[in-house]
Structures are given as C-alpha cells and as structure tokens.
Amino acid sequence: MSTWGATADASARRTPRTAGVGLRLPHLAEVVATRPRVAWFEIHPENFLANPHACELLQEVSQHYPISVHTVGISIGSTEGIDRVHLARLRGLVDALEPVLVSGHLAWSTHQGAYLNDLLPLPYDDETLAVVAAHLSEVQEGLGRRYLVENPSSYVGFGSSTMTEAEFLCELVRRTGCSLLCDVSNVYLSARNMGYDPYQFIDALPVNAVHELHLGGFTSEPDEATPGGEVLIDTHAAGVAEPVWELYAHAVRRFGLQPTLVEWDNDIPPFTTLAAEAIRADEVATMTQKDSRALAG
C-alpha cells in the first residue's frame, strides 16, 4: 500500500469544507474578470492541457481560488495501462496549479489505441481489482500525491462481478491508500438504474476515506432495456434533483462536512445559477450538521 497520508493531510487542511463550482470554459473569462464569491473551483484538466490561452487564464484563477483537478482521461480501469504521456502532462498542470484535490473515475476510456470519450463500466471482480489497484498506484506515484476515486454513474453491469461497487471501492482504498470522491448524484442514479438502495451504498463506504462529494443533475428517459421503465442519465445538464439533496444530507451526516462540488457540464446556465446551487449545498450541509449536533446533544 502506498502512503500518501502527509500529502492528503496537507491538502485537506487547505481545502474549504464548503461547496465549490465546476469551472468550464464558457465561464472562464467571466470568472477572471469578476472574481465571483465562490469557495473553490474544480476543473477538468483535459479542457485546458491543449488550450494554452485557457491555461493562462486558469493560472490567474488559481491565484485567487483553491482549485481541484478532476481528470476524465486517466482511464485507471483500462487493461492497456495508463497513458504515461497524458499522466506526465497532468503532472505538469498539477505542479503549476498546486490543487487542493486531484481526482478521477472508477472507469475506463481507452482501448486498442482509441480514447472512447466516455466513462465506461467495469466488472467488479479480482482481476479488475488487481488492474485498477496497480494503475492507481502508478497514478499516485506519477502525481506524487493521493488521488481520489469517484464512484461511476451506472447503466449496465457485468454478470461476472463477484463484489458490489462499494465493496470494490473499500478494497481499493485498503490496497492503494487512495481516497474516495462520493458522487451523491451518481449513487442515486446508479441505485435507481441498477436496483439497489442508495442509502445502504453510502453507509457501506469507508467513512474516513471520503474526502469530497459531488452533486450534479441528471435527466430521465425511456429505458430501452425495460419497456415501460425509465433510466436516469448522468447528463450534468440540469439542477440537482430533490431526492439527491436528501441523499446529500445523509452523506453529510455520515462523512461530515466535505468539499462539495456542484457540476453542470451541458446546457450550461449563467454562472449565477451555478453559484446559487453551491449556496444551497452549503445550506443543506450546515443545517444537517446542526440537526446532527442537536440530536447528539
């Protein structure tokens, strides 16, 4: 097991335990110009690494806000291994920004030389665990810091899985010393799509390993797999749904106040809408904490 405790502790001290906002390219110039009241920003490095102008503006943003780097291109579940060129580019950006958190997904995206531009599902068994753990250790070594792994949004699974997603994540933490990013919306959506209890899923995650939460919008559509049914799609194109706010409160009760990101990646609304969602996340978290203390006291 790798030991990234000191790095994680230092980062955790600098990380606001409040809600931040995903910083996407359409809002970048506005944020530089107006410096809105937001606790922190999360960026997708793949949007910046090939865009020197955006990278330059991002450096300016990082002088005023804590930044979290959330990669969508590392593909820790690919059997073909980590793209070391991309990992080195990511390391360069991480060194330049000194982000408070670096995270990515429990998924795969690359195979036979193709990058498939999606977060694809994995079977949860011993073979996958060995592959992901080895790659995760390589990523943490390559970045020189602890990496947070996010639970995916699921539409399909594999009959060969021998453990649940939560069991898989627990074992990954034990083997690699990674942290977890609990995407509360993904928990809700996956539980609905795959037929399990989202509250039990959250209760099954190791409480001390969860160092960030995500909230995002999804959309519903007819389920091709189940005539008459519906499937929830992780579009990040809408506000956070009411049942997810309730599940978020449960996550705060279990994991305590954690940096919480509000994501909105498609049909991106005015920045003020995103900021309002972040304020609501803070209100829900604060209220939940107060209620928990009152019950305990």
Binding site: V85, L116, Y155, V156, A225, V231, I233
Partner: protein, 260 residues
C-alpha cells in the same frame, strides 16, 4: 466469462460499430441490458460529433449542418480519438471530409476546412517572448545559415488555389453579402493569432516558402535557398529582418536547423 481485456475489446467494438452481440450474455441491467449500452454508444457518438461541429463551424456553414453531422459520424467511427484532450481531435477531418462523395464536393472544401483547423489552433495560442535583433546579430555571419528559428506558436501557413481567407473573413465577421465570388487565385496565407485574436496575411510565394521552411525546422540557409529557387529576387536579409521585427521569432537554434 471473458477476461477484462476481451470485455473491453467487445465494448469498444459495440461503441464504434454498434455490434453488441458479443456482450449479450455478460451484461446486466434492466430486462434487456444490451439496450442500456446504447446510452454509452450515444454518448460516444454525440460528444465527438458535437466536438467536431464546434471545431469546424465555418465548414458547417459552408456545406450545411446535416452533411457535417453525417460525415462527422462516419469519421469518428473510422478515426476515434487517440488521446483524451478532445481539443486536439480532428486534424485529419478536412482530408476525410473532402474524400466523401468527392465528385460532389466543393473543390476548395479541404483547404477551407484546413484553414479553419488552423484558425482554431492559433486562436487558443499564447504569444511567447520574441527574440531581439541584438541576439541575432550575436550569431555571426558564418554560423547564420545553419541556424534554425522557432516561430511563434500562433503562426500557421496554408497554401490554396482559391481565396479561402476572404471566404473565412466573411464567416468570421458575420458579413455574408448577397453574392460572393470566390476568386480563383494562388493564395499563400499566413494565419497569426493569440488569445482569441486571428489575423490573415497574404504573403508573396517566395516569402511563404521561406517561412514555411523555417516553421518545419529547416535552417535559415535552406529556407533561403528554397525561396530563391522560387524567386531569384528574394531578399533574405529583408525577410529575416521582417520576421524578427514583427516579433515572430521566439528562439534561435544554432546548428539545429535541418538542412535539405
């Protein structure tokens, strides 16, 4: 059960070709799980097609969004991205586009789409500190022909047999006239840009050859020879001075310039 590598091969195949038969017995989710894989198929196709349309809006304006979307979907199946930064995806699209239904295609479509690719690239570039004239003087006359020059990252060159830069200006300024005649001409176009700004300049053919040779890493001596072969009146000193004075040279690379 198939190995993880075999599963990923089957999923890749399902995404890029639509064939899910190899996965029918291994997927779970709903009562007919392979139907759920369509969500990933759509995400793969829609995200990359949208990325291409956003990268080539002027080309789409020229040929229509329906044809752009049709060709983009064929392209992304034949040429999936090979790296995760989608901003770098699509450089081969102009050639691919022009090869589709080639007889019906506009003869200037490929260079126009290539021009648009370069416009996109230079508009996200940033300018680097230029070399001062005094640094060039220090090189010495004997060593100078062997020197290579690094040019600004936001500098590109496109040669076309039509005035595609004029057509691009019409698109970029949103000033489409009722009637536009595309001139049939030898256009040596330099595209210069940084931080969202883009400029087009027509160069004379010899200067164009000189600058493109330098951009490809050729030595000053070799670049000058190419220009002189094109036009014996080419003035190397003047051309070099113009590059430096315009702030287009960012580094001198002694002995690293490639000779022909």
């Amino acid at each position: 059960m198939p190995s993880l590598a075999d599963l990923q091969t089957d999923v890749r195949q399902a995404l890029t070709s639509g064939d899910v038969t190899a996965l029918e017995s291994v997927l779970v989710g709903g009562t007919r799980a392979q139907g759920r894989l369509a969500i990933h198929q759509r995400q793969y196709e829609a995200s990359l097609a949208t990325a291409l349309l956003e990268k080539f809006p002027a080309t789409g304006w020229l040929i229509g969004s329906a044809m752009m979307m049709r060709v983009a979907k064929v392209f992304l199946r034949a040429y999936p991205p090979d790296r995760p930064c989608i901003a770098e995806y699509g450089s081969e699209f102009p050639t691919f586009l022009a090869a589709q239904d080639a007889e019906a295609t506009l003869p200037y479509l490929q260079p126009f789409a290539e021009l648009e690719w370069h416009v996109g690239q230079v508009s996200i570039a940033i300018s680097e500190a230029p070399v001062a004239w005094s640094q060039l003087v220090c090189v010495g006359a004997e060593a100078l022909p062997k020197v290579g020059l690094t040019l600004q990252p936001g500098l590109r060159h496109v040669h076309a047999a039509w005035a595609i830069d004029d057509l691009m200006k019409v698109y970029l300024t949103g000033s489409a006239p009722d009637r536009f005649t595309l001139a049939d001409t030898d256009a040596c176009i330099e595209i210069k840009g940084a931080r969202g700004e883009v400029q087009f300049t027509r160069l004379d053919p010899a200067t164009f050859l000189f600058r493109t040779a330098l951009a490809m890493g050729r030595s000053l001596g070799d670049a000058a020879e190419r220009a002189l072969d094109r036009d014996e009146r080419f003035d190397t000193a003047h051309a070099l001075t113009a590059l430096v004075v315009d702030g287009l040279v960012t580094a001198l690379n002694p002995e690293t310039g490639v000779d022909a």
